[in-house]
Amino acid sequence: MKRTIFEKIWEQHRIEALPGGVDLVLIDRILLHERTGGIALRRLLDRGQPVFAPDQAFAVMDHIVDTFPGRSDKTLMPTGTEFIRMTRDAAREAGIRLFDLDDPAQGIVHVMSPELGIVLPGATLICPDSHTCSQGALGALAWGIGTSEAEHALATSALRLRRPKTMRVTVDGTLAPGVTAKDLALALLGRFGVGGGSGYVVEYAGEAVRALEMEGRLTLCNMGTEFAAFTAIIAPDGKTLEYVKGRRFAPTGAEWEKAAEQWLALASDEGAEYDVELSFDAGDVAPMITWGTSPQQVVPIDAAVPAVGEAPGQGTESAQARAREYMGLDSGTPLAGLPIDAAFIGSCTNSRISDLRRAASLLQGRKVAPGIKAICVPGSTSVKRQAEAEGLHEVFQAAGFEWRESGCSMCFFAGGESFGPQDRVVSSTNRNFESRQGPGTRTHLASPETVAASAIAGRIADPRRIAS
């Protein structure tokens, strides 16, 4: 029987089949953050229910903490301190390892977990956070759940699940220079729509996916949730093993040898069948930028806001009309050249060291245009340290970027720091929903290169036109 990677991991973790087509599946790793995880843990402890395997759960502060230098438990979000302290106390009480504000390994959960080898190929991993699919880039089955399911997993180390369907998205061809995993992720959403992956474990395959480095794969899988997928996954290969080896929680010695052999065998068998197969040519992808308020409302950077009836796959006409109104854009307006107010590099999508290096190479010796608020938030304290060792912080700061402590920061507005109403922001994040980055804020999603190029130009700019 030929099997996909998903089927192999699922069957390896199935404790038993329950009546009604539901499987009881073992969960290897549970990640919690102070926005949703602390609540799950607190509710469990308040019911007198212990955590089943505290050594397989990890907590981190990323969502609510401020990212200003010299930060503390005090937050701009009015009730943020309450979340931070509740999470800290609950983690201590439950005996769960916490990466607190001042921990050298603190970071955005989907950045720090791969860095530390918490997520491993072949593992089942859950976190009450929709972007948990990012971690499928290592060949793990990692998916986002809600608070109640997190309580369930904490109490039992297992979840009751219906087996999701399988989809393979094969991306052949080669990404052109200056075109990144982020552009690919956005182009896939533009082509197949934000509902395209609903109910599926989406396996990304093909030569363009294999050619991506691990950090690019994390970016691609990150936006699996924008595709409505159950999760995204990429088969482990030599690059995966090289990335995992030597990380803090990765196996060592003879165990490493055994694990590495098992992980390479997880790749989908030749001829394995999927419920749905899609294919895409990487050569067709240009630097992409969203024009609307859904990640599927996206065009190549040298294109214009679609006219009525021109982009039937990007939402209903009324949704597109509403998006144009919210974004303050008429159909036919070219994206490149639109004046911007702010530029943001950060988030679990694009805040890793390679993202910062590529952005810095464009910023080197240049200045952010006058009046533009430009912010760089490294994805983890480790990324920040590495960037500082390479002198990247000086490049960002000399250009006029703020250089922050790590966290989710202004990827979303939760009552703390935000951009202003009608501010036009080019952002390396993952969601451009109405008011996502501040009440009335207009978000354009793009790669870190496009954000850097636009910050310099003071308007949306094609990074390929700026020599690095």
Partner: protein, 200 residues
């Protein structure tokens, strides 16, 4: 959890597609660690329009919401389900739901009913003037005009909803199976296993 067997009454004929959890409950309502009172923040941006459907007198307190494709996409926040519950919603009908949202809804005793678009369109029409009935036991949605639409539901979810069962308790009763699995895993995949000292 309270058992659910039937949801009957007015249904809000909303119908919009791709409603994300930021629209259901904007992030700035997630400031407290309590789940009460979120109904006031539900669909806040849409309710700024005085003509919005949610605040029309006849739909206040309606137990059913009829939505479009991909309802509940976006962030995993369970507050979306809590906000609907706090509004008085006990069931949502749509052509499709985001997986995380439908899981969260179920865990909070909200019934999610998937029907084909044309049947949802018909219900949107009926709901403007008349009540709708959802019978979980027979898995049917009916209207006063003899419409009768059958829906599928995961048998386990149906069983839990009908009996108001707590899933965690059910899984804990499988402790022997879980422990047996873990013994096997500790031998075959020790790098994942419980008790490997990761938290040390």
């Amino acid at each position: 959890m309270e058992p659910v067997s039937e949801v009957s009454g007015r249904a809000i004929p909303f119908g919009r597609k791709n409603i994300d959890t930021d629209i259901i409950i904007p992030a700035h309502w997630l400031k407290t660690i309590s789940r009460e009172g979120l109904g006031r923040g539900a669909f806040q941006a849409l309710r700024e329009d005085p003509a919005n459907i949610f605040d029309q007198e006849e739909f206040k307190g309606a137990p059913i919401l009829i939505a479009g494709d991909n309802f509940g996409c976006g962030s995993s926040r369970e507050h979306a389900a809590w906000a609907l519950l706090d509004m008085g919603i006990k069931a949502v009908i749509a052509p499709s739901f985001s997986d995380i949202f439908s899981g969260n809804a179920f865990k909070n005793g909200i019934l999610t009913v998937v029907l084909p678009q044309e049947q949802v369109d018909r219900l949107l029409e009926v709901a403007r003037t008349d009540p709708i009935n959802i019978d979980l036991t027979t898995q049917t949605v009916t209207t006063p005009f003899q419409d009768r639409f059958a829906f599928e539901i995961d048998p386990f979810r149906k069983h839990c909803l009908l009996n108001g069962l707590d899933e965690v308790g059910l899984t804990l009763s499988r402790d022997e199976a879980i422990a047996g699995y873990e013994t096997m895993q500790a031998a075959q995949m020790p790098w994942f296993a419980k008790g490997t000292g990761l938290a040390a």
